[in-house]
Amino acid sequence: MIDVKKLLTSDQLWDYAGGVFPEYRKEQSRQLPIQPAWIPPFVRVPIRQHIGQSGNLIVKVGDHVLKGQLLTEPTHGMAVPVHAPTSGIVEAIGQTPSNHPSGLNEISLTIRTDGLDTWCERKPVADASTLSDNDLLQLIRYAGISGMGGAGFPTEIKLTPVNPIELLLINGAECEPYISADDTLMQALAEQVVAGIELMARLLNNPVVIIAIEADKPKAIAAMEQACADWEQVRVRTIPAKYPSGGERQLIQIITGQEVPSNGIPADLGVVVHNVGTAYAVARAVYQDEPLIARVVTITGNRVLKPANHWVLLGTPIDALLHHHGLDQLDPVIVGGPMMGYQLPHAEAPVIKTTNCLIIPSQDELPSADRQMPCIRCGSCAEACPANLLPQQLHWYALAEDQDKLNEHNLFDCIECGACAYVCPSEIPLVLEYRQAKAMIRSSRQEQLKAERAKQRFEARNERLEQEKQARAEKHKKAAEARLKAMADKPSSSASESSPDSATKQSAAVAAALARAKAKKASQQPQKTMIDAAGQTVPDNSDVAAMREARKAEARAKKAQKQSSSASGNGASDKSAAVAAAVARAKAKRQAQASSTEPDAQQPLAATASNAADDKAARVAAAVARAKAKRDAAQHSDAKPAVTAPSEEQPAADDKAARVAADVARAKAKRQAQQATDTDQKPQPTSAAEPAQDKAARIAQAVAKAKAKRAQQAAQDDSEQ
């Protein structure tokens, strides 16, 4: 930690690495007095002028607002309100060009000023000690105060730090060339600045206060020393004029010799840094109840006839302001200093809380870098870098977009002060390259984050699916076991008994579904048995196969149950379903028992077929019966299912199905011809093609196709053999 007591007595100052000595060019603008504010015909107040969120708008178009009136209500912690800088009527609320290097539009209020500059009601506090700390903080917050030296961080938040603060560092360095806003403010209003510092110190539990001012501002130093002569905890330190001594981290190093950790903030060292302009704004808010509605702006550059510091109402359009000062050609205007400022993309953008300087340079004053040369690795940039980086290496890696190397060389410790580009003899726009490289890395980090999240989601999904699959498998296994058990328990004749039952009593839909499922199972069987027939040695795993088939069939049956609801009302299909069910069940049974044929399994089949009233069903059944008879005669039980399978395709309505069925039949016939030299069954399946319900037809079609495929394969296998 820092020995703060010593800071009050010791004359030691530290130096930071690098730094440059640009021409300061402050003399032309630093004379007093600060010019009074000018009221433009209209002001454009952006609702967000700091780092953080904007507040909620609380006025609407047409409202008459008074000077100092709250325009937005801060709703969350990082929100800072804005106020009407003068009295007038809210003319519009909408998107206007922002005072930002991007030149993007932002929401702002356009207020037509009435020139009366009428204040709203004010309650100045004469003695701040009557206010509680909380009241004071709220007052500062509602006055819309954010850091006025640099980025514009909400001041109230910096006055309520998490760590105990031992050193309040007031930044009056103002190291950027041209700018003299803080300088003149300290010269003219040192008493009020110190009053603000006192309030800040009070909120931070009276730490040691150091006011750091660069040596090129003797008048400001004298004024500040005089203003805080009778305050013991404070000391004004004169620091050498070097750029960028006013950088927060550099200033801390100069005064304390300590470095703020790379990923940390000054509060980690027990230090907080505030700008002199901010201190003044705090005093003004408390003792005059005047919110932050105006600031000192240096208007300078060779094109400006009388460079000076002006009070400018926040929201004053810059083009109007410069016109008012006799400037017509407004390209380019640089906002901020020449080292870290930016060229104003739209001159109609307003002055905001962080606008400390406007430079209107002549052609040769700030010559543009038009002769970029290759980097010769001269290393001047490394010697100039206040963060002790290697800009020449960063340049190399930025061009190569080598993110790993950029991170390894601590790109994100770059404070973008511009010292490297200032000294670069090859006029390489280094800062621009680093900004782009940072943006690239930030966006790829975002991408990575997104990809990581997507990956997690995907993995979670896979895991869930896997779990579901396992659960399903478990369920199926149990069901199959139960089914197998039930089959084993029932006598073999149960099939014949149940088939008429299902035709008459049970729901036709369920029966149809079960039938289709079983039929499928049955139709799968021939492949194996065919192979058997062809003389291949196949292990006798029919029991296991039956189990598996049973499981599959159950799943399919369930599915089919849902689909077959439309077919349930159709009597013809009911009947045929019943027939099929009977056929299938019989076959299933037969196959489950053994690969060898049992005569009693065929008897019920024939019986069921004869019971069927429908012609088609009858024909099918007849065919089946015939086939079986033949097969029995030929001693080949295997051929039969091949014929019954097509018989399941009755509903197949269109030609396609018929053709498929025909193909199947042909394939099977071939097989049978090889096996049994019997071709009688061939014509039968074609006769099965009949118009039926669409849905059923489509399902059947699919089933048929699948079977055809299988059959074809089997046929090919056979023919090959």
Partner: protein
């Protein structure tokens, strides 16, 4: 006006101005060298510079780049000037041309042009010649005062372009000293004498030596030192590389001299002989092929100093600046990697 990004102000010294400044700072050394060794060097410098410039222009045209703008950075010119200074005054013209074309065409532009070359182009060109034509490259004539056949402008031109002076003397004849012995450079003399068992003091009595180092050479080195100091004063170059090199060379030779005052060359002789000062301030400081970190530059300079001493003392060549610079160039990436400065707010790395 096109102001892209901050900063909008820049210091005045540009790359081409830096290069020009370096060339201008060579002038005292060149003049002293011309005073002692005649016009040969001026011819070589003009030849090498013109060849380098021309080569760069041709390559730029081939690469479809703005030739005038790029050659306007004076970097090729500087390479040529340094090469011209380094080669012996009466080197056959075609050797100089080969070295210059090699330096710019191969060493610089095949690697991508300015800023991308790994090796110091002038020294690479020099070493190419040194390896290919060792005799020609070590054939320095004696300083004018010692020469048997003083040569004028016309003689010099004739020697460079035809090999014979206007009077018909060959280079070997021109190299004769008044006592009829072919001249060797002071470093060469010391090396040979010490090798032959003479003491340093005995060797130093020879006429090739002046008041404290080689006759003529000591003044040439002083002139380059002067130019170099001005470069540092103008912040064109920093102390790191010349400082590192000279301190290292001094320390090495002082240690050697302390152990064997008779058997090794004195620190003074090392510092003011051969290409020491030229190398320290004008050659090793080529930023492109040198280290880029401040610490790395001290190390880089010190490495060159050490290598120069090693090559001069134990190597096969009388001088070793060119080899030392090229060897150090090879170490640049490594040195840079391990000499990264500690970034603000970071703990000391590893």
């Amino acid at each position: 006006m096109n102001l892209l990004s901050s900063p909008f102000t820049r210091q005045s010294l540009k790359t081409h101005e830096l290069m020009r400044m370096v060339i201008l700072c060579c002038i005292p050394g060149i003049l002293v060298q011309a005073y002692f060794f005649g016009y040969g060097n001026l011819i070589q410098i003009a030849l090498a510079a013109a060849t380098c410039w021309g080569t760069e222009a041709i390559i730029m045209i081939m690469r479809n780049r703005p030739a005038l703008r790029i050659t306007g950075d004076h970097s090729a010119l500087l390479t040529g000037v340094l090469l011209g200074i380094a080669v012996p005054p009466f080197l056959p013209w075609w050797m100089t041309v080969i070295a210059a074309v090699f330096a710019i065409g191969v060493v610089k532009h095949l690697y991508g042009g300015l800023g991308n070359n790994l090796f110091n182009p002038a020294m690479a060109g020099y070493v190419l010649l040194l390896i290919s034509f060792p005799v020609a490259m070590t054939s320095w004539q004696p300083v004018a005062a010692l020469s048997q056949h003083p040569v004028g402008v016309w003689d010099s031109l004739q020697l460079v372009f035809t090999g014979f002076s206007a009077d018909g003397f060959s280079l070997q004849q021109v190299r004769m000293t008044i006592d009829g012995i072919a001249a060797a450079t002071p470093l060469d003399t010391v090396k040979t004498d010490l090798h032959q068992g003479l003491t340093l003091d005995e060797s130093m009595l020879k006429p090739v030596f002046g008041s404290f180092a080689g006759a003529g050479w000591e003044w040439i080195n002083l002139a380059f030192l002067l130019g170099g100091l001005y470069l540092i004063y103008r912040r064109v170059t920093s102390w790191a590389i010349p400082g590192g090199m000279l301190i290292s060379l001094f320390v090495c030779s002082a240690i050697g001299f302390a152990f064997s005052p008779d058997g090794t060359a004195s620190p003074l002789l090392h510092l003011f002989s051969g290409a020491t000062m030229l190398g320290a301030f004008f050659i090793a400081t080529d930023p492109v092929s040198a280290c880029t970190t401040v610490r790395g530059r001290w190390i880089f300079g010190a490495l060159i100093g050490l290598l120069v001493y090693v090559i001069r003392t134990w190597g096969g060549y009388p001088d070793g600046v060119a080899f030392a610079v090229l060897l150090a160039n090879m170490c640049v990436v490594l040195i840079d990697h391990y000499s990264k400065p500690r970034t603000y707010g970071h703990k000391e790395a590893r």
